[in-house]
Amino acid sequence: MLEKAKILDQETIQRSLTRIAHEIVEKNKGVGDVCIVGIRTRGVHLANRLAASIKQIESREISVGILDITLYRDDLTLIAYQPVVHKTEIGFDITDKNVILVDDVLYSGRTIRAALDALIDLGRPKTIQLAVLIDRGHRELPIRPDYVGKNIPTAKQEMIEVRLLEIDGKDEVVLVEKDERNNGLE
């Protein structure tokens, strides 16, 4: 895989998340009914960071949950590797809440479709809003984000790699040339 450009670094990632936190507070007129749900794996860490940012702004704890969408994917038979089913861990009721769904990269929209189905099986939220760090375009479903860290127009054979301190040991977003065999969802 060929690394072509660094799009965000630690500082710009944090700045984007802080801005999104402000936008969430503004749009929901406070965070009274707001909860955050991160999509495994990197969405979870972004969700935690957003919750921390909101706490700094509003001085309130926001509930954060983890969503595993494996069982809702529409490409299970297409992927070459063994998907591991992890637990969904949402320890609160999402009914009548404004759920902020968080993922790292928005691409085809299929992950979000799966996540919406998974969420709706868990309850009936007042709204579901979508926050992503990167929107790289090429949507295949009518889905759009409510909060975006950065829009990156990409070619299909390119790929966005989000690396986070919690998993990868550093914070950065890079544009890479796509490995041919990788046909998973970004």
């Binding site: 595993d68 494996t70 069982l71 809702y72 299970l76 038979t77 297409l78 070459a80 590797y81 063994q82 998907p83 591991v84 089913v85 992890h86 637990k87 969904t88 861990e89 189905d117 998974a118 099986d121 868990l122 309850g123």
Partner: protein
């Protein structure tokens, strides 16, 4: 969690044929499914459009219902076929029955059969997945997996545990599957039964054998009490029921001499007053009903994993 472990088997025939990693993968996957079964909407769409056929040659309400619920919670369609082997004697062979079900475009056959090896024979002749729901005296993998799952949930780990299995070991598929699964995960297994119900060479499967119940319970972290089926006896060789209860029954008195908090398991249905006393069956250490609950999650995991492996294999051959 074992991210790198892959499940590549289209069938689940027995724990003898699985690696430690594969067993752990089922248990971990079941862990995730247990969360699903605790939801208000206990259903995920992962097997939507798939058909599961429960092919039962032996009557079994609990295992069949557990598999049926598991399949339905994965959004699969379920068909139940009950068949009496005796009436099949002159009729269709097992393989022909399987091929017919395959021709109906079913995706998984869950089979209970009174002859050992029936699931293996069926799996060998079919392209679709076969899940063994008990074959003769041979194996009952999902039962052992749910026993082990429950034990792990209660005690945190399997490695290093002392687990005793008490009852008719010779004719028990539950015992065999438990021996394989537990020993692969690093537990020490003791089987305990009247001498005539301990089959030859059981030690070669990794279990220690004893005819002394006190010895079996000493140091045990858990005891798995098997159902005594006196009606199976053809040669009147079984000791009388009361005699058995006196010598091998799990009673409060025996429990009081065992390790504190020793877990009591039973694959059900229980015979109160034959292999286990009512008091023990209902005591706080008894996890018998939790086993039933966990059975669904374990079977969901099994159905999910074999389907995944089967579909991936299909794609590979299509390439």
């Amino acid at each position: 969690m074992s991210e790198t472990t892959a499940w590549n088997k289209k069938d689940l025939l027995g724990l003898e044929y699985l690696s430690k990693e594969e067993i752990l993968l089922i248990l971990d996957t079941a862990d995730s499914f247990k969360e699903v079964t605790s939801r208000e909407i206990k259903k995920v769409p992962v097997l939507r459009g798939k058909t599961v056929v429960n092919l039962f040659y032996e009557p079994s309400t609990r295992t069949r219902v557990s598999f049926e619920l598991a399949a339905k919670r994965l959004s699969a369609d379920v068909i139940n076929i009950a068949s009496e082997t005796s009436s099949v004697k002159k009729g269709e062979t097992l393989i022909d029955t399987g091929r017919n079900i395959e021709a109906l475009k079913a995706d998984i056959i869950v089979m209970r059969h009174n002859y050992s090896g029936a699931a293996a024979i069926l799996a060998r002749h079919l392209g679709i997945s076969v899940v063994n729901a008990g074959d003769g005296w041979h194996e009952h993998p999902t039962q052992a997996l749910l026993d082990i799952f429950t034990l792990r949930e209660k005690l945190g780990k399997i490695e290093g545990l002392n687990v005793s299995i008490v009852g008719d070991i010779a004719h028990s598929r539950v015992a065999r599957s438990n021996i394989w699964g537990l020993t692969k995960l690093g537990a020490r297994v003791t089987v305990c039964a009247p001498k005539m119900l301990i089959p030859p060479g059981i030690e070669e499967m990794g279990a220690r054998a004893t005819c002394n119940i006190e010895e079996a319970l000493k140091n045990a972290d858990a005891v798995n009490v098997l159902r005594m089926q006196f009606e199976r006896d053809e040669q009147s060789a079984f000791p009388q029921q009361m005699e058995y209860y006196k010598k091998f029954g799990i009673t409060e008195e025996r429990l009081s001499k065992a390790k504190k908090n020793m877990i009591v398991m039973h694959p059900g249905p229980i015979n109160r007053g034959i292999e286990i006393s009512s008091e023990v069956a209902d005591c706080p250490q008894s996890v018998i009903l939790e086993q039933v609950t966990n059975g669904i999650a374990v079977r969901m995991a099994a159905l999910f994993l074999v389907t995944q492996a089967h579909d991936r294999k299909k794609d590979e051959t299509a390439d």
